[in-house]
Amino acid sequence: MTPKTLGVFLAGTAILSPFAATAQTEVLFWHAFTGRLGELLAEQVDSFNASQDTYVVVQSHKGNYSETLNAGIAAFRAGEQPHILQVFEVGTATMMAAEGAIVPVYDLMETTGAEFDPTAYVGAVAGYYTTSDGRMLSLPYNSSTPVLWVNRDALSAAGIDPDVDLTTWDQVGTVLDQLAEAGSTCPMTTSWQSWIHLENLSAYHNVLFATKENGFGGLDTELSVNGPVQVAHIQAMGDWAQEGKFIYAGRRNEGGANFRAGECALFTESSAGYAGINAEAEFEFDVRPLPYWASVDGAPQNTIIGGASLWALEGHEADEYAGVAAFFNFLSSTDVQAKYHQDTGYLPITAAAGEATREAGFYEENPGTDVAVIQMTTNEPTGNSKGLRLGSFDQIRGIIDEELEAVWAGDKTAQEALDSAKARGDQLLRRFEQANG
């Protein structure tokens, strides 16, 4: 802590202490954000605390997404749980199944009598955290969706028109051929392979990733990642990997470094990559919608989100829950939400916030920032594209990562790898069903 921040901190506690004496209701909020995102979160909390004097939200950082979820779970077991826990989207089924540990948002709003209009939220975003019968379980906080990032300079250097149409994977394939011929060492790379190239691929082509509406319909779901659409896509990617046109950099967002350094021409990555790419890239870039296979009927449907939502945990007093509800409503208010959307590149959770951003002329000043919003909201989500709700999903992603690596390395065909991913993933789904049945 530098002397300056220490000073601010001391001043802050000095200001806060008299308030504490008047017994404000304290609401604990555990999250996984650091850096710029952590600052923005702290800013939101501070302005909520300043906006009223009944409640005070106390935020604390608990590590990365997995660590934060673990901290929340361990705290719950010890009876020390916070009021609000930020949980990444793959933890949704785990949280949802934990009846008795969570207070669903619709329930929270009802019992505290807070204002709540579920229709104000963007369906494609909130749907991920909503039951099949339309009840919201957790409040979407930071949501993004995958898009295609293009290094325009790299295309020009290879003698390709930087405005070339990259709407479909066939067109991308042609451009990759040209890039490879021109000697590019990294025509395309990706981050989060399972999320983009299987989970989103499935939703975007309106096919199931898992049976029972991707798990929304019950715990007895099975993976269907080895369908013809997925196999064809992964095989195409595998072939590109063998030909040096798709460079695999790692399971998370390692590929981002290669793209931001200007090495790679195309990059499939979250729309929330905007801040980093904008800050670091020393080349002309633009954002395109995620490509799709034109040969598949019903494509493009809509992509699904990644990110995290806020869960209210069980075991606290009624007036504290009123504070949680007030904070959730504050986060959903148009001004706060529009600012967050513009600052971070995360999707707006309410339609009003998106509208306000458009009216303020933000999308015109920052071209491409609305690609993700359009891609997600043009079509009403179907049963195949609302989102995913699978138990042990973090581990299932690990299995998919392993199997995809076998394809990129040329050890397995796409069909073999995805058949194996399904068989292994289904075992974990059965265990989860057993534990929570």
């Binding site: 719950f76 077991r77 008795g100 973090d394 581990q395 392993e402 075992q427 057993q434």
Partner: protein, 293 residues
């Protein structure tokens, strides 16, 4: 020739072993018992409900070919880590032992890496071998070798072995160095007068005298490779590519603390406990017979 000293009565000896028993009970028997108990259930993460499955968790694990493969991966990994941390340590200790001037400086320098936490060591090696910005990877590229531990399982294994063994070399060095200093000079000198050259003296006199220390280090290093290396693996490969660096203890960690599957994680700990117990018994029963005290 019985030189055993015996206590009169029971109270004093009981008091003397009580602290050790207490520590073992709190830090070993209680958690181990808890793990065995937990391994019989599939609990939900929040501890709200629990299904008794008997040996179901073990059946689930042992019927999984990937889990069985993990035993082989662990065997390869721990053998390599043990060799890679003991052989260079012995070599360095022998060299440092022959120094007349500046031995203290070398000794201090050689001990430094031990002060670095495994996860940090993992990051350091990861940076050096990063496929895009790594110094070593870059030089290998210059030599025409395309280093890619992200997709190549053998290279990934090599990298985690080196990163795990590196800090350990210092630890082993300390023990070997101390043991070398304890080798009686008179024996060495006698052999030298008889015309034995350095390497002959080393293999026939020094090495047998080092065997108790070497045996101790063997046991300790295998335990280290089994249990304490997951920080390195977590930061460098997270068990990949495919499952080429998923050792048993890493799977315990990732299933339990990432996957929230506490039943399977507990069952794996029990399997690991039995395995290491067996290994130690084998080591003491067979290898120790070749050790001269």
């Amino acid at each position: 020739m019985d030189k055993r000293v015996t206590f009169k009565g029971w109270l004093l000896p009981l008091c003397l072993i009580a602290p050790q028993v207490f520590i073992s009970a709190v830090f070993f028997f209680y958690p181990a018992g808890k793990a065995i108990w937990q391994s019989l259930f599939i609990p939900d993460p929040f501890g709200l409900s629990s299904q008794y499955v008997g040996l179901g968790n073990f059946e689930f694990l042992l019927s999984d070919p990937f889990y069985r493969q993990s035993f082989i991966t662990t065997a390869i990994f721990s053998t390599l880590v043990t060799l890679a941390s003991m052989v260079p340590a012995l070599f360095l200790a022998v060299l440092a032992d022959r120094l007349i001037k500046g031995a203290g400086v070398y000794r201090t320098l050689l001990i430094w890496p031990y002060a670095i936490a495994p996860a940090i060591a993992g990051l350091l090696w990861l940076f050096m071998f990063n496929t895009r910005v790594g110094v070593v990877a870059w030089y290998l590229g210059k030599l025409g070798y395309d280093w890619n531990h992200v997709l190549n399982g053998g290279e990934a294994m090599g990298l985690v072995v080196v990163a795990s063994a590196w800090g350990r070399i210092s630890y082993n060095f300390l023990f070997f160095f101390a043991a070398l200093q304890a080798v009686p000079k008179s024996v060495i000198e006698a052999a030298a007068i008889d015309g034995a050259r350095f390497w002959r003296r080393f293999f026939t006199i020094v090495l047998p005298l080092l065997s108790p220390v070497a045996f101790f280090l063997l046991v300790v290093n295998i335990v280290y490779a089994f249990f304490e290396t997951f920080g390195v693996i977590h930061t460098i490969t997270a068990g990949g590519p495919q499952q080429s660096t998923t050792i048993l203890v890493y799977k315990v960690f990732s299933d339990g603390f990432v996957g929230q599957d506490l039943g399977s994680s507990a069952a794996q700990s029990v399997i690991l406990l039995v395995l290491v117990g067996l290994l130690t018994v084998i080591q003491f029963k067979y290898i120790e017979k070749k050790v001269h005290y």
